[in-house]
């Protein structure tokens, strides 16, 4: 039975997960020098088949034909709009020979990413997604495939991308990577877009920062209140009370979080006050750049926070483009590209271009064929990896053809069956981050079911 086998695999994955609690192997993670990973999560499920676009004439024609209803809605239409072939930004990948006569392009809104690609500072990783084990189209059609649970469900796939299980997951691979680096600093896992299970490890706890860049302090923690130092001190201590006498774990959790928030904002407000790096990242009206500005500021105080391994989580919403994609998606891609490009430029100028690696993730890719003006939930999707350490200027994998009946087509609408699992994608990032093979095996329990050499990201 498919279902019982799936349950069995989930159970065995949990057993693998528990193994990570065992004492560290003699070979420990390499944590020399400074390195940071930045995850940009594209909430809603990004239509990445509108990012990496087939560009040789026959493939483009197929791509455009499948998406005619969307293309017609672009200002300028199919022939002169932003998806007209002549307006696309042709890529000339270093590994272009691998693709024969197939050529690829980026949309014109992503000229920044195009430049980074050309300079060898960005790569495209095609068709990444959650997999329990390699899956073929035939297995899907025969109903013998072991599939991740709840494909195409936003909340569950956001969780699966970050933490390998559906809503309710408790540990994500960002947090687990940090666990392995055994940092003592409390400032290793930082989200600028709310709670993120991605950053929660066994021991790693995350800090959340506001994208405003301001560190607001709680009343009475940064100045005397009620005309009395003693009252102020006691109030502050009250916020940070131990809830030891309280039986309710919810009370203890909330007080622990409040207490940590008071401590963290105390430390960081002073530390970040003088920082200038973020201001260089901030672009007017670009909310992703606001978040990346906070990342830049935090990176610039890495010595003071005594950490040399950090993982950041930022994100932008709006990618659930079921309709009006011609008007909605280009604006999002432009925001994404401009923010990423500015961030990399500032990192390069600060001499950190090789020390920071940025990568995208998203709920899922989308259907290849359109509904009237948009696309629907899919599975695998193309991702962007950026940084001086990345083997840039390449498309690091096979790109499915622009049809609905190729070997990696999922069901009838040309969603993609992933060819690169998140385990592989994350493992490459984790290896660069300094983890050993055995450590990577505990973070990514299904890793050994996939070819470890298939993706060479660095």
């Amino acid at each position: 039975m498919m279902i019982s086998r799936r349950n069995f695999l989930q159970n065995s994955a949990m057993t693998f997960g528990a193994a990570s609690l065992a004492p560290m192997a003699a070979l420990a993670a390499d944590t020399s020098g400074y390195k940071a990973l930045v995850c940009i999560f594209l909430f809603g499920g990004c239509d990445s088949q509108d990012i990496l676009i087939n560009h040789d004439q026959p493939s483009y024609d197929q791509w455009a034909e499948a998406r005619r209803p969307i293309l017609d809605r672009f200002p300028g239409g199919s022939l002169e709009g932003a998806r007209a072939r002549g307006n696309l930004l042709a890529l000339d990948p270093i590994n272009g020979g691998q693709f024969g006569s197939s050529q690829y392009a980026l949309p014109p809104e992503m000229s920044g990413i195009k430049s980074l690609f050309d300079n060898g500072q960005a790569a495209i990783v095609p068709n990444v997604g959650p997999l329990v084990e390699p899956v073929t189209r035939q297995q899907v059609e025969d109903d013998t495939a072991i599939l991740p649970a709840r494909l195409q469900s936003h909340n569950d796939q956001q969780s699966t991308w970050q933490a390998f299980s559906v809503e309710g997951a408790r540990q994500g691979w960002g947090g687990l990577l940090l666990d392995a680096t055994q940092q003592s600093s409390p400032y290793t896992a930082i989200s600028v877009t709310g709670q993120s299970v991605f950053l929660s490890g066994g021991s790693t706890r995350q800090l959340q920062l506001s994208s405003s860049g301001n560190i607001e302090r709680a009343f009475g923690t940064d100045r005397r209140v009620y005309g009395s130092d003693e009252v102020t001190d006691r109030l502050r201590a009250f916020y940070r009370q131990s809830a030891d006498s309280v039986q309710s774990p919810m009370m203890r959790d909330l007080i622990a979080a409040q207490s940590k928030a008071i401590n963290d904002t105390d430390t960081l407000a002073t530390l970040l006050e003088q920082q200038q790096l973020g201001e260089q990242v901030r672009l007017e009206g670009n909310r992703l750049s606001d978040q990346l500005a906070v990342v830049a500021d935090m990176i610039s105080v890495r010595n003071a926070t005594e950490t040399n391994r950090q993982i950041y989580f930022v994100g932008m919403g709006g990618f659930d483009t079921h309709n009006d994609q011609a008007n909605r998606l280009p604006a999002l891609l432009s925001t994404l590209s401009e923010a990423m490009t500015r961030f990399q430029t500032v990192m390069n100028q600060a001499g950190l271009g090789n020390e920071v690696t940025t990568f995208t993730a998203s709920d899922f890719g989308r259907t290849f064929t359109s509904n009237a003006s948009g696309t629907d939930h899919g599975w695998g999707g193309h991702q962007i990896v950026m940084g001086g350490a990345v083997r840039g200027g390449r498309i690091l994998g096979d790109v499915p053809p622009p049809t609905t009946d190729h070997d990696n087509a999922y069901r009838s609408r040309g969603s993609l069956i992933p060819q690169i699992s998140i385990d592989q994608y994350g493992s490459e990032l984790g290896r660069w981050f300094g983890l050993t093979d055995s450590e990577l095996n505990t973070v990514f329990p299904n890793r050994n079911r996939f070819d470890p050499l298939a993706l060479q990201m660095f």
């Binding site: 809603g44 709680a218 009343f219 009620y226 009252v231 904002t265 009237a372 629907d376 069901r411």
Partner: protein, 565 residues
């Protein structure tokens, strides 16, 4: 038919309820209260505060006196009779002279939350707005307050009415149609090959009706997913051919006429072939409205609906981790559409999906009424409810306005800012609300104990600090306009009278805000801190005010207030 077996099971549950009804009396088959705490003259302060935290946006001293005298059951029954103040008329009137947006409807929401007498309806409306979400943060709804107000009235009208009716109405509502993109969703086009938009089909199943996993009658997942990608595609074809009434399908003109009407069927754009999903089919030609009604009837018949929606409402009102029996008892009331309170009053129409019966079952259950001994019971209170509670406890009485200028709500329409609470009514980041019913707080003791803590999802560093500051802002009070028409004004003069006596002051605040739940240690700590502000010298008025403000701030930031047990 896929549901035949399940439908029979649903009927069997009802029969069982009838069997287990212990007393032989008329209406013995109606699900009845398992609690016994709500009798007139018998409620303690603690029970009264607890009940009001569950059923309302909080209570003042007068509210508590009234409730204790009246009893919880009579209060529930009375709530069902109170008039409804519609949003649509207010927003329509406002839009004649002023630009309207999300702040407009938020100000109306906060006016109702703090000053509405129909507290149960308001609390249920807010809960439903977090389950059947349409968000004004979405670019499609940005600035469309008039359109959105019709959606809000559907929630508000049905909040103590019928959930199945609510889903039927919401599915034809243009605001929902814009938000989940089934407004203007054309049928498949064989020429270009495009197929219907799957958005609403998926979310109406996943979030509004049956959920993603098959449940037993107590809301426990059975390990089987309820629908497949093919079911979504099949149902997507049903939600085609709907758009703004009385205009062009592809190039609609939105007017003051069709803005307030349900979406209408466009025969040429509705998929007129047989549409299959979940083992059934809809085949009634090209009338979109007829197709959708049949499809929704089928979905709403699913046995998941009662436990799925009941459990989420319990989570919003009472406790994050209700026992399976609690969920089952409430789901039975949802199924039966009627509920018998301890005082003998029968609530609900007898129609399945009755929300008055469901709310009564939630609130009068013994798991809601008894202070739990289980340390895992309770919920982190949504900060929106905490802020409302604080203001409401010391509100300056105002009538909810039915026309004229919309009152100011000061900071209340800015709470969603990330440095404030990062949450507010009607501006969810997506259809998945600000927090998920299944959220587990990574790295928490609650997670270790196997508990979900939905509200912990928004307890981020800036929002935790922001909560303290927002509370302080309201205690300090809003700047007043000439006519004092600010819904957020607090008057704590009753506390000023007590302010010289720290013990009496803290005891009264503790009574009002937590029902006396502060631990001995915290109560003493707050008293001692208050006593450090001496009432002496030239500014004794300031001293007294500060003592009250400090005691309020500390109580409102205590774990006993922030978590509802």
């Amino acid at each position: 038919m896929a549901f035949t077996r399940n439908a029979l099971l649903g009927a069997a549950c009802l029969a069982l309820t009838a069997c287990f009804g212990s007393e032989e009396e008329p209406g013995g088959g109606i699900p009845r209260s398992s609690g016994d705490q709500g009798a007139p003259g018998e409620m303690t302060d603690q029970a009264a505060v607890r009940f009001k935290q569950q059923a309302t946006f909080g209570a003042s001293a007068d509210d508590l006196d009234d409730l204790k005298q009246q009893g919880a059951d009579a209060w529930i029954v009375e709530q069902l009779t109170l008039p409804v103040f519609p949003y649509t008329e207010r927003v329509r009137e406002e839009a004649e002279d002023n630009w309207t947006n999300d702040n407009t409807v938020q100000r109306l929401f906060w006016e109702r939350a703090i000053h509405g007498e129909d507290q149960l309806r308001q609390r249920m409306t807010y809960a439903l707005s977090q389950i059947v979400v349409a968000s004004m943060r979405d670019p499609q709804l940005d600035g469309r307050a008039r359109t959105y107000s019709v959606y809000l009235d559907i929630l508000q009208d049905n909040a103590l009415g019928n959930y199945c009716d609510l889903i039927r109405e919401v599915s034809f509502n243009p605001a929902m149609g814009l938000f989940l993109t089934h407004l203007g969703n054309p049928k498949a086009d064989p020429v270009t090959g495009f197929v219907p938009d799957e958005n609403y089909a998926r979310e109406v199943m996943q979030l509004f009706t049956i959920g993603i996993e098959e449940l037993d009658s107590s809301g426990r997942p059975q390990g089987r997913e309820t629908y497949t990608a093919e079911d979504v595609q099949g149902l997507a074809a049903v939600f085609t051919g709907l758009s703004w009434a009385d205009t062009d399908f592809f190039f609609p003109r939105v007017t003051d006429f069709n803005r307030y009407l349900p979406m209408e069927s466009f025969l040429a754009q509705h998929e007129d072939t047989e549409k299959q999903f979940l083992g059934t089919s809809v085949n009634v030609g090209n009338d979109a409205v007829a197709s959708v009604e049949i499809a929704l009837d089928y979905l709403l018949e699913h046995p998941n609906v009662a436990p799925f929606i009941s459990k989420q409402l319990i989570q919003k009102l009472v406790t994050s981790n209700p026992s399976p029996d609690y969920v089952r008892r409430v789901a039975e009331a949802f199924e039966a559409g009627q509920f018998r309170l301890s005082n003998g009053s029968i609530v609900g129409t007898g129609q399945r999906c009755d929300l008055a019966a469901t709310a009564a079952a939630i609130l009068s259950d013994r798991e809601a009424q008894t202070v739990p001994t289980d340390p895992n019971a309770g919920k982190i209170r949504n900060p929106i409810l905490r802020v409302a509670n604080l203001i409401r406890a010391f509100r300056v009485e105002q009538q909810v306005t039915s026309s004229g200028e919309i009152p100011d709500a000061w900071l209340l329409d800015q709470l969603e800012r990330s440095d404030n609470l990062n949450i507010n009514a009607f501006v969810s980041p997506s259809v998945f609300n600000f927090f998920r019913p299944g959220y587990v707080g990574p790295g928490t003791e609650s997670a270790e104990a196997g508990l979900v803590t939905p509200e912990y999802q928004i307890a981020t560093t800036p929002a935790l600090v922001g909560y303290i500051n927002v509370i302080e802002d309201f205690i300090d009070g809003p700047p007043l306009s000439d006519d004092n028409r600010n819904v957020a004004v607090m008057n704590a003069s009753d506390l000023l009278v007590l302010s010289d006596d720290a013990s009496a002051l803290v005891a009264e605040i503790d009574r009002l805000l937590t029902g006396g739940m502060l631990t001995e240690a915290n109560r003493q700590y707050i008293e001692e801190t208050v006593d450090l502000i001496e009432v002496a010298g030239n500014n004794i008025d300031t001293d007294r005010r500060r003592r009250v403000q400090l005691a309020l701030l500390m109580t409102a930031t205590s774990p006993e207030f922030m978590v509802q047990r």
